[in-house]
């Protein structure tokens, strides 16, 4: 890596250059009475300034040191030669399955910006691979960066792009596809791919990390290795999400792409299956099937790609101060569909009913899911539910609200009218809806016996 690639500029770059130090070398940084010694690290490209230098100190932590005109940098020792990855030809000769890693950004592909302390998506696929050299023991990995965004910014058009990239990897004959993705909207992208990629021949595994790879507690390496293993070896052909299943580094869970939700902001086991069981339990040694996948691996199966999504679909969560104007606003803004995240079994305040009726009369598809997260919508139990059914609201059974939104976007891009949309919405396509899922599929409460 040349100094220009290191990401430094201005004063810092000047000082580094005159010390002849390169990234990877051990250097000392002195000013007045203070001295820091450590390995010179590359600077994240996004948001870098010209005043801070990053070194990895003996404890393993990276620190950012502000440089002044009178700061001194001294090279103490030349760093070890940078580890190089096998060439594609060398790798392909080994008797290992082939895996494709598509990087979209997110923590699993990010570095800390030591100026702001914030994390930016800055790691290339090469870096990703380099961070976890063990990968080459499990598969011949072909890595590609297809975008570099934090997942809160992922939009339906990005799902289209990812789906097309996966299709192209499958066409090239890979044994499994891994998608590195931010965790914030991982569940939505996995749902989108579940609808866009039908009749998959091989597994497509989405993976993220809750702690970035330059932090000691990172889950990135274990999740990534597990994902490569699962994608190339599991006897399944579905879209899966693989993340830590508990706080230790003992095992991971592979969840069905349409049934998974981030349920905690920071824990490594934040992802849980909702109204369904995880499909696989993955350890370093083993892939154990917990619950049967819908489709088995079959490289002869012909992928059907349906990558379009209608963007004019909104999700509205009801709350005690909501009024009908928000629904009216969406109708006036030419939306084509609305997912209502209602309360309990699928209710809204009855003061919304007339706006919802107007929306349906105007041609929108309005569907109901529940903000309870777990359980099934049942609009026949209470009068307010019955009224909404009469108006024409579609009850989305046990589908997650986030999955319902994604499915409605996909359905509206693939149907012509309300009736066809309703029918397709309620038809199980990728394990997203089940007339028979049971109440037992629920997390355990705290403080239990």
């Amino acid at each position: 890596m040349s100094l220009d690639d290191s990401g430094y500029s201005g004063l810092v770059l000047e000082k580094i250059s005159s010390s002849n130090a390169k990234v990877g070398d051990i250097i000392s940084v002195k000013r007045n009475e203070e001295e820091y010694v450590g390995v010179l690290m590359p600077r994240s490209q996004v948001g870098s300034d010209s005043f801070h230098i990053i070194i990895k100190i003996e404890t393993g932590y990276n620190v950012g040191i502000k440089m002044h005109q009178d700061s001194e940098i001294q090279k103490i020792k030349t760093g070890k030669k940078k580890r190089t990855i096998m060439s594609k030809e060398e790798a392909d000769q080994r008797d290992l399955p082939t895996a494709s890693i598509l990087s979209t950004g997110g923590t699993i592909a990010s570095k800390v910006d030591y100026q702001t302390g914030a994390v930016n998506p800055a790691l290339s696929a090469q870096d990703l691979y380099d961070t976890v050299p063990e990968l080459k023991n499990y598969a011949n990995v072909h890595a590609k960066v297809i975008m570099s965004v934090l997942s809160e910014n992922i939009q339906p058009k990005d799902w289209t792009k990812i789906a097309k990239s996966v299709a192209s990897e499958i066409k090239s004959g890979t044994d499994g596809v891994v998608i590195a993705h931010g965790t914030d909207t991982l569940g939505s992208t996995s749902a989108a791919l579940s609808f866009a990629l039908q009749d998959l021949p091989i597994p497509v595994v989405l993976v993220g990390s809750q702690r970035s790879s330059d932090r000691p507690s990172s889950d990135a390496a274990m999740n990534l290795i597990g994902a490569i293993n699962l994608a190339t070896r599991a006897n399944a052909a579905e879209v899966l999400v693989l993340m830590h299943a508990e706080t230790g580094d003992n095992y991971l869970h592979a969840h069905r792409g349409t049934r998974v939700r981030k349920l905690h902001t920071s824990r490594r086991d934040a992802f849980q299956s909702v109204n369904d069981y995880p499909l696989f339990r993955v350890t370093e040694q083993d892939i154990e099937e917990i619950h049967p996948p819908k489709h088995r691996r079959d490289k002869d199966r012909k992928l059907i790609l349906k990558p379009k999504f209608e963007e004019k679909v909104a999700l509205v969560k009801t709350h005690p101060s909501i009024d009908g104007s928000i629904i009216n606003h969406l109708v006036e803004s030419s939306y084509r569909g609305i997912v209502i995240e209602g309360t309990g079994l699928g209710h809204t305040p009855n003061r919304l009913h007339s706006s919802i009726k107007k929306a349906i009369d105007a041609g929108l598809v309005v569907v109901m899911s529940s903000q309870c997260v777990f359980g099934r919508v049942n609009m026949n139990v209470y009068r307010s539910g019955v009224e909404l059914l009469d108006i024409g609201v579609v009850p989305c059974e046990d589908m997650l609200p986030e999955t319902t939104l994604v499915k409605l976007m996909w359905v509206l891009a693939n149907t012509k009218n309300q009736e066809a949309a309703r029918e397709l919405l309620l038809k199980p396509l990728a394990g997203e809806i089940d007339m028979r899922s049971e109440e037992s599929e629920y997390v355990s409460s705290l403080g239990g016996s």
Copy 2:
């Protein structure tokens, strides 16, 4: 109960009257070859028609039978005399604590409408008491109906009304207040009361049921008895929510009013504490403290009543197709505050940032919570969070989104400007926010070891 109170009308009332049968009598209903025998039940007032009669058959189930001109009703046996409740004077003479039950509606105070099969809030406080006669063994109960609505229709002005009713019961010297409430928005009302009723001398216990009291699997009786026990005997003075803690009838959990959420549409143990432990475990025999309450019972403590809520506050859950127009719409509609339910640690798509900035510049208070449900907002980790903080978004730590909405409504009714609102929002008032809550306060995943 006279026949007029029975809720019947038209043809059915005519037929019942001419048979001389009264509610509670055993009757037979015949037409052609069919005959039904059972106890004549009162008819739910809401949505009743003139064509159906309800009888409780031998199995314990209620059935609705359509009456025709040629249907015949015969009285077979006079029912047992209707159980009467002790007079207030009789009751007060016994050596039992005094409890107030305020009924607001919901399943716990509802009956099935056998015409539509839907459940309506139709039970009076008297009925409620009558349904669970064991209540009189635990306390002298004073029951009042203060409203009769399914909880999806509860609005901020209803919280004001409930808070004032509680204050008036406390003034009258009661030992504990129980509020029967629908489960859909029980967590929002409990949060609202937690802010509106400060320095409580006694416990205020909200209770609901997931199955109505005329169904065999109803949780209504156990929850109500537990609530009376908890309200009159627990050494606490907070707003609590008491519901089943598991699917059996073994024990209940009392959750802090600001920390509880309905996490399942139908299970009896749907309610769980979020980012906190339940405070009490309640069985028929015992009240066990799991986690210390913030305040202990002290009938000399002077209640401070602050029952106002600003209604012009909205909750917006972000999703992959959201755009800034929804925020703009709220600003144009003179909203005063917005709770954003962002992703992960507290992010929104960056295409919303300019609309959020405009909202804050226009004087709105915009706060951030997470749709993950569990965990803490931390906007210093990623660039998008840092940018939102710079714009002036208030990070609401580990507060539930629903509680954050309620608190913002309460704060805006009690402060004059953005800065004062921000300060009050982040100040812990009723256990709703904690700088030290831990990641261990999380539900267990399915499929674990």
